[in-house]
Symmetry: C2
Subunit: 329 residues, 2 copies
């Protein structure tokens, strides 16, 4: 029921996902009449979808605490419960982010010593995509937390982009080891010691993100959120400036027309993939952007399927557990 358009977007997205991946089956939570009305024209979903009715929905502006206290029985709650009960391997929602995070923590619990899930941004770069985390959930991070982000980002990279040892960089204000916040310098020491399923490349700076200097870029949730939103704002500014440059005169408009294929490729590459997983939960939950269209929501479903089928949670368990026991001993 989530997102700006509800089932009118999410149900056709499931149809597209069903056609692309014959192994997928769906349990859908929401207003049954509305959902079943859409199914009539979507034959690929027949026999592969179960609609579980609820007319309780969590508002887009509900506070996380409200959602936890009063959310039981809502469509979002029931979708996450399907994962907690083992009926589903992953939950996907385009609804209220804070509510989804709170309900997921409550029902699925966190892995190891983590407190809150990390949010990961799938950042377009000169070399493809990099995973940047945390982009807003954990504002203050000690060294251990940053190391956990490195482990989770690497597992995410494995699961979503296949084989190969990912490279991991730690975001800092300089590449010299004497610079930076204490927590960042301490995390650098732990990561340098090695023993991980990724290659640590050391400190990176803000301008290394767009270069694709590492597959995974680790930072605290405050700086990560600032970087992500600054980038989004700048991308919008570029697009506006470009539109202005191309509509300034009839000749410029003709120029835009001639260069259109290249400009479209560029625009497609610069769009961040909308939404992403909550990393660190004891289960797979993917948040799709509220404004996503059917293609965007289908991409979130594919990502959820990839995470669930790739041993992502096993890799996390393998790499997070020992460290937490170490810290506890």
């Amino acid at each position: 029921m989530g997102g700006d358009s509800g089932p009118e977007v999410t149900v056709p997205a499931l149809d597209a996902a069903a056609r692309a991946r014959p192994e997928l089956r769906f349990e859908v939570h929401g207003v049954a009449d509305r959902i079943e009305g859409l199914l009539a024209r979507l034959p690929a979903l027949r026999g592969r979808i179960e609609v579980l009715h609820t007319d309780k929905v969590i508002d887009g502006d509900a506070k996380p605490a409200q959602a936890m206290r009063r959310g039981r029985g809502a469509s979002m709650w029931n979708a996450v419960e399907a994962v907690a009960a083992g009926r589903a391997v992953a939950a996907v929602s385009a609804g209220n982010t804070g509510a989804l995070m709170a309900i997921s923590r409550l029902q699925l619990r966190m892995l190891g010593a983590l407190d809150r899930p990390a949010l990961v941004a799938n950042w377009p770069t000169a070399r493809g995509r990099s995973a940047v985390l945390d982009v807003g959930a954990n504002l203050v991070c000690d060294a251990e937390r940053l190391v956990e982000f490195a482990v989770m980002g690497a597992a995410f990279h494995h699961a979503s982009r296949g084989a190969g040892r990912p490279t991991v960089g730690l975001l800092n204000v300089g590449v010299e080891t004497e610079k930076g916040l204490e927590a960042v310098k301490a995390a650098d020491q732990i990561l340098r010691a090695g023993g991980f399923e990724f290659d640590y490349i050391g400190f990176v700076e803000g301008d290394d993100i767009a270069k694709g200097a590492a597959d995974v870029i680790v930072t605290d949730g405050f700086s990560g959120n600032v970087a992500l939103k600054t980038g989004e704002g700048l991308a919008r500014y570029f697009r506006d400036q470009l539109r202005e440059a191309f509509t300034g005169s009839p000749l410029a408009r003709l120029g835009a027309l001639l260069a259109a294929p290249g400009l479209r490729r560029m625009s497609a590459r610069m769009n961040a993939v909308s939404g992403g997983p909550f990393l660190g939960l004891n289960g797979v939950v993917v948040k799709s952007h509220g404004g996503a269209d059917a293609t965007g929501f289908a991409n979130a479903v594919f990502l959820a399927a990839d995470l669930a089928s790739s041993g992502f949670l096993d890799e996390l368990g393998r790499n997070l557990k020992p460290r937490c026991e170490e810290a506890a001993s």
Copy 2:
């Protein structure tokens, strides 16, 4: 002597500055032969420039501590000393940033309770320019420090962009008052209480920077540096993508030619003004970008002149002193 090209850039820049501002006079520190060789062809500087010889120069890769211990008598040292001695109202250098900051702190001292100068970025926005600070000098900031940045950013805005009460925003991960780092929330409370020579507009997010949501955007040096460098990296990525879009086919190349005037205007607008002042010193010191051309270095000279002639230091003294006494009592 600083910057990638030394006097071959800085001396012609002074000539341009001298022609634009008849009231300016210059004291230039460096290798006299090299500088005087350039003056022969620059008549506007005649009678308005004094060349003080030194062949000691601070290397581009010298550490700040080295520069402080062994910098006495170097061109950069002597330029700052001219301000400390009251012979000059401002110093401008295109040399080593860390060395210039260390030498400036040592000779000029900080205003009030400040520990290190703040670096300000002159960020291009949809509405002109915004001052973003701190972009790298003070990594960890308490609430009082963030409030001082607000005061300094506002004074900088007054001095460099003329009359009018500037608006100030505090960078955060959301606009709701319950979100964010403790220091940021505490600074918000102090700024809300008012009594400043600017209008505080509350929390802003990363994407508000490019919108020009406030004249001054305040954040700690870690997040500010990450935001600035992320933005620089993205701008480079965007330019590369645009070049690719416009060279993909002969038609695209023709398109680029037709849209060239608009694209050039856009590019000029997107270039950040290179360099900026060190805010919080008991004197005016402006750092020009090492790679600046004569126009860029002349802009740094104009900025220094504006700061020195506008009552900038008085405004800082007026707004910083009382708070420090308050804090001490």
